[in-house]
Amino acid sequence: MAGIVGIYAFDKLWRMARFTYYSLLALQHRGQESAGLVTCHDEGLIDYKGRGNVDRIFYEEKLTAMTGWMSIGCVDAEVRPNQSIQPIIVSRPIRLAFCMDGKAVNWNRLAVEEGISAESDVEAIAKILSKYIENFGPSEGALKLLEVLSGGYCFIALTERKEMIVARSPSGLKPMVIGSFGFDYGIVASESCAIDVIGAEYKADILPGEVYLFTPYSIERARAPKSKVTYCSFEYVYLARPDSYINDVSVYDARTKIGEVLAEEYPVDGDVIIGVPETAIPFAIAYSNKTKIPLAMGFVRTGPHVRSAIKPTQFERLVGVQLKLNPIKSAIRGKRLILIDDSVVRGNTTKNTVTLMRNKLGVKEVHVRIGSPKIISHCPFGVEVPPEDELIARHLTDEEVAAVVGADSFHWLSVDGLVKAIGFPRNMLCLGCFTGEYPPCHKG
C-alpha cells in the first residue's frame, strides 16, 4: 500500500516540491516506510527520497532548491530495496519517474514477455510503461498497460517530455481523485486530504480504468474498456483518512455508519465507551450516539502518529500500539467499559490492552467491539496482511477470542453490516480480506 500524488502547474512560475511535500504529509497514513518526490523542470527530472516518515526525510533547504513546476511523490508502506524506493526513475526508452499504489498480480509474467529485467514490481511496471509510451504514445500506452496489467492499482508517471500520466486500474480497487487550484495547477492524489492540505479544490474521482494525460497544452482523458468495478472496502474501515472522500463517499460518514451498525448488531449495556485512536474514534462516537452511553477519551498518544497495523514487523507494531495507548485512568477506573477498535489481526495487542484495563485500571467489565469484519485472508493488492496462520479470526470463534483476550464479550462487525455502512452494492466491493473471495482482477 502507498499514497501517491502528482501536481502539474500550467505555468512555469510555480515550484511544486514543497506542495508535494505537504500532500505527502497528508498521505502519511498510507505508508511510513519510505517517501520520495520527483520534480521536473526544463533540465529534466530530479529526485529526493529516503526511508522513514515524510517530515524526517525532507529538509527545508533541499526542498527550496528543487525547482520544477511538475512533481510527483509517494509514501510507501512496503519495505523496498534502495533503488526501488518510490518514485523510481527509469531511463529508457522514455525517461520517466513512476510511482504506484496497489499491486499488479501478473507483472512478473508481463516483464518476461516484454524482455524486461527488474528487481521489483514498480521497476518492472515503470519499464513496461516507458516502452509502451515509446511505442504507442503516452495516453494509448497507459491504456494498453491498463488492459494487460491485472490487479488493483493506481499509478502516476512524469516523463522528461513534460507529460504527467495518471491511471486507475479498471477494477477501481485503489482510490484516486483529481483537483485543481484556480487556473494555476491540477493535482491528482490517492485521497482528497492531499488536495485539501495545499489549499487546492477536490473536483472528482478518477474513474476506474481512466487515464489522464497532462501536457503543456492539454489535459486528455481516455478510458479503458469497461470491466468489473470493485472498490476496496478496507479503505473505508481503516486505510483512508476520515476527512477524505473515496469514490465520492465520505470516509467519515462510512465510519460513523459502521459505529451505528455495530451498535445495532451487538448492543451491550455499559458505563462508558472508549475508542482506540485514531481510526476507531468515529466508530465510538456513532456507537455512543446510537446507544446514548457516554463516550470518554480513553487514551493519549506519545510521539508521532504511528499506523501500527501497517508496520512491517511485530516489534514495530507493538511499539506503535503502546505509544498510542497510554490510558487515562480516571476515565476508565471501576467502569463497565465498551472498547471499540478498528481491527484485530493477531489479537495480541488487544489482549495487552484488555489485560491492562483489568489488571492495572480495575475496570469491571470489558466488551470489545471491532469496526471491521473478521480478517481471515490475505490481500493480493498490497495491503499488508500477515500470513493466514497468524490471523486470530480465521481460527477462533468469537467466544474463544473473548477468552483469549480476556474480554467479557467480543464481536466483529458483520460483512453485511460493513456493506450497508459503505453504501455500495456488495458486488461493487472487494471484501477479500474478510471473505477470502477476490474480484476477477485478482487473476493474472
Binding site: 512560475l13 487556473f183 489549499g199
Partner: protein
Amino acid sequence: MVKVLVIGDASREHAITDAFFRSVHEPRIYAAMSRRNPGITRLSKQSGGDIAIGDINNPEFIVKVAKDFNVDFAFVGPEEPLFHGVADALEELGIPCVGAKRQMALVEMSKAFMRRLMWKYKVPGRLRFKAFKSLETAVAYVNEYAESVAIKPARQAGGKGVKVIADLQVYLSKEKREVKKEHVKAVYEKHMAVYDDIDDKVLIEERVEGPEYTLQVFTDGRHVLPLPAVQDNKNAYEMDIGPETGGMGSISGPGWLLPFLTEEEYRRSVEIIQGVIDALWKETGVRYKGVISGQMMLTALWGPTIIEFYSRFGDPEACNVLPYMEADIVEISEAIIDERLNTIKISFPDIATVVKAVAPKGYPDYRDLAKGHPVRIDEETIRRKGCKVYYGSLDERPDGVVVTAGSRIAEIVAAAPTIPEASNIVEGCIQYVGLLDGWGTFHRSDIGSEVLLRKRIEQAQLIREIYRYRASRGLIGKTIDWIPGKGKIEYEF
C-alpha cells in the same frame, strides 16, 4: 433600406450579424474584419451587403469603410476598436455607433479607472484594490502585505495575465509569494509591455470567491436594457481544471436567471450596472451608448460583486442570448442612438441555452501551435440536429481554404427546457467541427452537466448564507480586521 456596419470577426460578431440578418427590417449588413470570417462574410453577402478586410483597431480604416459603404450606423463587437476610438471617429463623421466611446470604454480598458469610479460614486459590489505604476512599489507591496489576491494587468490585455492566488496555508506562503512577485514582473514585462495607453501597470485586488456570471445589457447612457444572466466557463479543461481561456462555453436560463441565481440577486446586479452608467455620466458628461457587461460574482462581501466590466458583449456569452432574443436588433440599435431605450421591450422564451466552444490544441497558451490548421465545419448537420454554429477565430484564405487563427474555432449553441438537455444537444454536434490535417481539438463536455450545475448551486448557497448573515449584522460594504499589535481596522466600502 437600413445599412449597418458590424465591426469584428469572432463568434460574437457572427452572432450579432446573425441577429441583424434576422431583423424584419432586412438591413444590408456590411462587415469590417481583420480576418475573413466565413460565417460573417456569407451573411453579409446574402443580405446584399459586403465586407472589408483591414485593421479594425485603426479608426481611419473603419471610417473609410463606413464612408465607402455609406452605412446608417455601426455596431462594434470587440473591445479593442472601442479602446482605439473607433466609436469617436465614426460619430465625428456623423455616423452613429452602437459601441462605447473611448472615454466610456475605459470601464473595461482600465481596471483602475473602473475601480476608482465605483469607489468615488459608491456603487455597490466594489472590491478593495491598489494600482501601481512602478514595478518596485508593486513588488514591495506583494512582499509586505499581499496575501490572497488577484493580480491583474491594469489594462484589459486580451484576457491574459490575471492570476488569482489564495494564500491561506502559512506553510506554503513563501512559495506563493514568490509566484506573486514573479507574476507582477511578468505583468510589467510581458502583458503590459505592448500597451502605453494607460499610466497604471498592475492592479492588486482582494481575492473573493463565489460563482461567477455575466450580466450583459444594452444602454443608451440613461437606461439599461438587461439580457438574461449567463455563466461563462473559463478553465480550459473539464471540471474547471486548467489555464484561463477566453471562455470554453456558457450556460443561460431557464428564463432570465441561472439555477444558482435568485431574482433579487439578478435585480441587484442590474442596479450595479445602472449605477456605473450613472457614474460615468456624472464623471464625464458623455452618454454611454452600446453594450456593457458586468462580469460578476456572488461574494460573501456583497452578494453581487463586480469582478470586471466589458464594454461589449461577452464571448461566448453573446451566443447564448442573441439567437433567442425576441426583439429586433435594428430597433434596439436605433433606440440606443436616439437615447430612447426605455421604449424598447425585450422578451425571451422560457428556455435554457448552452454554448460550447471547440478549440484547437495549443489554445490558450501555445497559440502558434493552434494556428493555420484547415477547418471542417459541417454546418448543415449541426443545424439539422437543432444547433446553431457561430464561426470563431478563423481565416478564409484567398484560395478558399478556411484555417484556424489560434483561438476558438467555433461556438455551438442549442436551446432546450433545461440546461443539461441543451448541453446534450450541443454534445451531439461537437464532432461536426474539426480540423482536416489531423491536429487535435478539444471542448468541455461537462459544461451544462448536472454535476457541474449542482456544484455551482451548492457554492452559491454557501456564499448566499454568508452575505445574508453579514447583511443581518449590518456588515455589507464593511470589513473589520484585527491586526495584532496594531489594533482594529475598519474599512467602510
